[in-house]
C-alpha cells in the first residue's frame, strides 16, 4: 500500500460521491417520467420509439408481464446476435475477412453479451468483424445494461408503491435508460477517450515497417464508441483481447481514472435513486457507505499484495507481470477491484498473473454476488436482496417480524431471496467441480484436448483458481477472466453460457417476484420497535451478513485455490 494507491482510491470515491447525488436524482426523475434538462431534445425521439414499436407507454405491467417482456427481449437479442456472429463472413465491414464463429462459440458469445456478462472465449481483434462489434457487441452492451436498469427500477417501485400490482412498463424503462442515461454519457465519454488516443475508425489494419526493419500489423476499429458503453453497462467485453490494458482502449493514466469512474458511476448512483424514490435517502447513503468501505478495503489489500511483489522472481518494484508501465501497481490494483466488484469485468492487467491474496480479493468480489457497487442495475438488486437477509436474520435474533422500508418481509420474499442465492452459488460450485470429475478422451467433441484440466494455463492451486474464477465470473455476470484457461471449447462455452443465464435471470426473475409481492403491501409507518435501516449499526450488520453468506458458501473453495497458493509462494 503506497501513497499513490491511497490517493487514487480516494480520488475515485470522492468523485463518485460528488456525482452520485445529482445522477441518482436525475435517474429517479427520468424513470418516473418527470421533465429533466434532456426532455426537450429527447422527448420527441422517445415518443417516436414508442410509436414505431407499438408500445403504449401508459400501460403498466404486473411482475409476470414485466418479466415476460424482459425475457422475450433477451431471447430476441440472443437470436439476432447469434445469427450476426454466424453470418459475419457474408456481411459487410469485415476488412480482415474473419470466418463465421463455430456454433458453441457463437452461443457463448451471444449469451455472454445478452446477460451483460461479456465473458469472452475469443480475442476480439482476431475474431470479430467491425459490423459484429458495432451491431452486436455495442448494441448488446446498451440493451443489456438498459434491461438491468429497468429491472432494478421495477424492484425499487415494489418498495415505493403500495396497494398495486403494477411495477411500470419494461419497454418504457428500457427506452428511457438508453436514451436519457446511457447514450448521452457514452457520447461524451467516447469523444473524451478519442481525444486522449483511443481509436475510432473503420479502416483495414495497417502494416508498418519499424526502424529496425521488422513488420508489425496494428489492429484497428471503432473502439471509442464501444469503450464507454462497455464500461458503463457493466458489460466489460473488450474490443481487443487485452481489454482496457490495450493502449488503444486505455492510453493514459487519466483515461484509466475516467474508465474506472464510467464503470462505477451508474451502480454508485442507484442507492441514491433508491433513497429518493422510497423517501429514505439515509438508507441509500448507508448502502453506498457499505459499498465504499468494502471497495476501499479491497483496493488497499490488493495494492499491498501486488506492491510486495513475487519473492520467487528476485526483482525489485512489485509484481509487474501482466501490468502496463503507465498504470503501474496502484492503478492496476484499483482497476482490478473496480472490475470484479462492479460486475463489469473490463480489465487493465492480466488477472491470471496477480498474487494469491489479490486473487482472493477478486474472487470475494465476484462471489459476494456483486454487492460492492455491482452491475448496472443488477448491483442495487443484489444489494437489496442481501439487505433482506440481514433484516431477516436481525428479526429472528430479536424476535420481531422483519420490516424493510415499511414493508413486511415475509416467507414469500425470503424464499425468493434464498432461491436466487442458493441457485447461483450451487451453479458456481457445481460447474467448478465438474471439470475435475468428468473424464473425456482426447479428440472428444466437448474438449478436443481430452481432460478438461489440460485447458488450464497454470499448474497446481493456481489452476484450480482459474476454473473457480471462470465460473464465479460467469455466474456473477462479470466476464473478467484468469485468461490462462483456454475456455474456447464446446464444454466450457456451454457450461459457462449456462452459468451466465442462471446468474442473470435466476437473480432478476425472483427479484421481480419480490417486487410484485411488496408493491401490494401497505407501507407501515416506523414505530419505536422498528429496526432502523440506516446508520452505523445497520451497516455493520449488513457487512457481517455479506461476509457470512459469502464465507459460508465459498470458504472451502477459496482454501483450495488462492489460499493454498499463498502457502506455495517461497
Amino acid at each position: 500500500m503506497t501513497w499513490s494507491s491511497i490517493s487514487q482510491t480516494l480520488a475515485v470515491l470522492a468523485i463518485l460521491v460528488a456525482i452520485s447525488k445529482p445522477l441518482g436524482a436525475f435517474m429517479a426523475a427520468v424513470f418516473e417520467g418527470e421533465r429533466t434538462f434532456l426532455s426537450r431534445p429527447f422527448r420527441p425521439i422517445e415518443h417516436l420509439i414508442y410509436r414505431v414499436s407499438a408500445v403504449d407507454p401508459e400501460l403498466h405491467q404486473n411482475w409476470t408481464a414485466y418479466s415476460a417482456s424482459l425475457l422475450a427481449f433477451g431471447l430476441l437479442n440472443f437470436l439476432l446476435f447469434y445469427v450476426l456472429l454466424r453470418w459475419q463472413n457474408f456481411l459487410p465491414l469485415n476488412p480482415k475477412g474473419f470466418p463465421t464463429l463455430q456454433p458453441d462459440l457463437a452461443f457463448n458469445t451471444a449469451v455472454s453479451f445478452l446477460t451483460n456478462t461479456s465473458w469472452q472465449s475469443y480475442a476480439g481483434e482476431s475474431t470479430l468483424s467491425y459490423l459484429a462489434q458495432m451491431l452486436g457487441i455495442t448494441v448488446q452492451s446498451f440493451t443489456s445494461a438498459a434491461a438491468g436498469m429497468a429491472a432494478a427500477m421495477a424492484l425499487i417501485r415494489g418498495f415505493a408503491r403500495q396497494g398495486t400490482d403494477r411495477l411500470g412498463n419494461f419497454w418504457v424503462d428500457l427506452t428511457r435508460a438508453t436514451l436519457y442515461v446511457l447514450l448521452p454519457i457514452s457520447l461524451l465519454g467516447a469523444l473524451f477517450l478519442c481525444s486522449q488516443g483511443v481509436i475510432q475508425n473503420l479502416r483495414p489494419y495497417p502494416q508498418v515497417t519499424t526502424i529496425e526493419g521488422a513488420r508489425q500489423t496494428v489492429a484497428f476499429g471503432p473502439v471509442a464508441s464501444q469503450e464507454p458503453i462497455k464500461l458503463m453497462s457493466s458489460d466489460g467485453g473488450g474490443f481487443f483481447n487485452a481489454n482496457s490494458g490495450h493502449p488503444f482502449e486505455n492510453p493514459t493514466p487519466l483515461t484509466n481514472l475516467v474508465e474506472m469512474l464510467l464503470i462505477l458511476v451508474i451502480p454508485a448512483a442507484f442507492p441514491c435513486t433508491f433513497g429518493v424514490l422510497t423517501g429514505n435517502r439515509k438508507h441509500g447513503w448507508t448502502l453506498f457507505a457499505a459499498m465504499a468501505l468494502l471497495f476501499s478495503l479491497g483496493c488497499m489489500l490488493t495494492a499491498w499484495s501486488e506492491q510486495s511483489g513475487n519473492p520467487a522472481l528476485k526483482i525489485s518494484g512489485g509484481n509487474m507481470e501482466g501490468k502496463e508501465t503507465r498504470f503501474g501497481i496502484a492503478a492496476s490494483a484499483a482497476f482490478s477491484v473496480v472490475s470484479t466488484a462492479s460486475s463489469d469485468g473490463a480489465v487493465n492487467s492480466a488477472h491470471d498473473s496477480y498474487m494469491p491474496l489479490s486473487t482472493l480479493v477478486q474472487m470475494f468480489n465476484l462471489k459476494s454476488g456483486e454487492v460492492i457497487f455491482g452491475g448496472t442495475g443488477s448491483g442495487i438488486m443484489s444489494m437489496i436482496l442481501i439487505v433482506m437477509i440481514a433484516i431477516f436474520i436481525a428479526g429472528l435474533m430479536v424476535g420481531r417480524s422483519p420490516e424493510y422500508l415499511g414493508k413486511k418481509i415475509e416467507g414469500k420474499e425470503i424464499k425468493m431471496v434464498m432461491l436466487a442465492f442458493v441457485i447461483t452459488a450451487a451453479a458456481t460450485l457445481l460447474f467448478s467441480a465438474l471439470p475435475f470429475l468428468v473424464k473425456l478422451a482426447p479428440g472428444s467433441y466437448w474438449n478436443p484436448g481430452g481432460a478438461l484440466t489440460s485447458n488450464l494455463g497454470n499448474p497446481g492451486a493456481h489452476g484450480l483458481s482459474e476454473i473457480l474464477y471462470a465460473n464465479g465470473s460467469a455466474v456473477a455476470t462479470n466476464g473478467s477472466a484468469m485468461a490462462g484457461l483456454n475456455a474456447n471449447t464446446p464444454w466450457f462455452n456451454l457450461t459457462l453460457g449456462l452459468g451466465m443465464l442462471i446468474g442473470r435471470f435466476l437473480m432478476i426473475v425472483p427479484a421481480l417476484a419480490i417486487a410484485g409481492s411488496l408493491a401490494r403491501k401497505k407501507r407501515m409507518s416506523a414505530t419505536i420497535g422498528t429496526m432502523p435501516t440506516d446508520g452505523v449499526v445497520f451497516m455493520v450488520l449488513l457487512l457481517g451478513t455479506i461476509f457470512l453468506v459469502t464465507a459460508l458458501t465459498f470458504f472451502p473453495a477459496f482454501c483450495l485455490g488462492p489460499i493454498a497458493e499463498a502457502y506455495q509462494i517461497k
Binding site: 487514487q8 420509439i49 414505431v52 417482456s69 425475457l71 422475450a72 427481449f73 431471447l75 480475442a123 482476431s126 458495432m134 452486436g136 455495442t138 448494441v139 446498451f142 428500457l174 457514452s186 467516447a190 469523444l191 478519442c194 488516443g197 475510432q200 475508425n201 479502416r203 495497417p206 508498418v208 519499424t210 526502424i211 529496425e212 521488422a214 508489425q216 500489423t217 496494428v218 471509442a224 483481447n241 493502449p247 493514459t252 493514466p253 487519466l254 522472481l313 526483482i315 525489485s316 509484481n319 509487474m320 507481470e321 501482466g322 501490468k323 502496463e324 508501465t325 503507465r326 503501474g328 492487467s349 491470471d352 496477480y354 494455463g457 483458481s465 485468461a483 490462462g484 497458493e565 506455495q568
Partner: protein, 194 residues
C-alpha cells in the same frame, strides 16, 4: 411471453439501429473530424513511411536503441493483432525460469549495470503492446546505448529526461518513457555510426 415478442422485435430493431449504427457512425464522424490523428491510431511517419504507432509497443533489439519490455503478444511478441499477457501465475515455474533468463540476458548485454533490476524490464505487460518503460529501466540501459553510439552517458541521459512523462495530474499512474519516441529522437539527434 409470446405476446411480448412483437413489441420486443420492433423495439430491438429500433434500438439496434440507434445504438449500433447511428451512434457509432456519429462518433466515427465526430472523431475523424475533431481528432483525426488519434482516431487513426497516432501513427508516426518518418520520411513518408509509417514506422509505428506512438501508443503501440514494438521490438528493438540493437544495442544502440533502448529496448522495450518483453512481450507475450502473439508467438514472437509485439504482435499488434494478438494483444495479451503471458497469463502465467506467480507460482508457475515457467514464469520463474523466463524471468531468470531475461535477467541473465540483461546482465550479459549491460555488463556495467550493477543496480537492482526494475521489475517492468523483465516482465511482460498485460497487453504485450506496452509502449513504455519505467525511467529506472531506461536508466539501466544508458551505458549500453551510449557505448554503442559512441556518446557520453550524460548526452543520452538528458534525452531520456526530456522524454520522461510524470504522473498524470501529479498522482495518476506512474512516470514513464515512450520507447519508440525516445529511439526516434536518438536517431534524429545522434545518428548511429555505421
Amino acid at each position: 411471453m409470446w405476446q411480448q415478442l412483437l413489441p420486443g422485435l420492433r423495439m430491438m430493431l429500433v434500438l439496434t439501429v440507434l445504438t449500433g449504427l447511428i451512434y457509432p457512425l456519429a462518433v466515427t464522424g465526430l472523431c475523424q473530424m475533431l481528432f483525426y490523428d488519434k482516431a487513426n491510431g497516432s501513427l508516426i511517419t518518418v520520411n513518408d513511411h509509417v514506422v509505428g504507432s506512438s501508443l503501440i509497443g514494438q521490438n528493438f533489439s540493437k544495442a544502440g536503441y533502448f529496448q522495450p519490455r518483453p512481450s507475450a503478444a502473439g508467438n514472437d511478441g509485439y504482435d499488434g493483432t494478438a494483444s495479451g499477457g503471458s497469463n502465467l501465475g506467480p507460482t508457475n515455474q515457467k514464469l520463474i525460469d523466463r524471468v531468470k533468463a531475461s535477467v541473465e540476458k540483461f546482465h550479459k548485454e549491460n555488463p556495467s549495470y550493477t543496480g537492482p533490476l526494475p521489475a517492468d524490464l523483465v516482465t511482460t505487460s498485460g497487453s504485450g503492446l506496452d509502449p513504455h518503460i519505467s525511467p529506472a529501466s531506461a536508466e539501466a540501459q544508458l551505458d549500453r546505448v551510449a557505448k554503442a553510439r559512441g556518446l557520453s552517458v550524460d548526452q543520452i541521459k538528458s534525452l531520456v529526461d526530456a522524454h520522461t512523462e510524470g504522473r498524470d495530474l501529479g498522482f495518476l499512474g506512474e512516470p514513464r518513457v515512450n520507447v519508440l519516441l525516445l529511439n526516434l529522437d536518438l536517431d534524429r539527434q545522434f545518428p548511429a555510426k555505421r
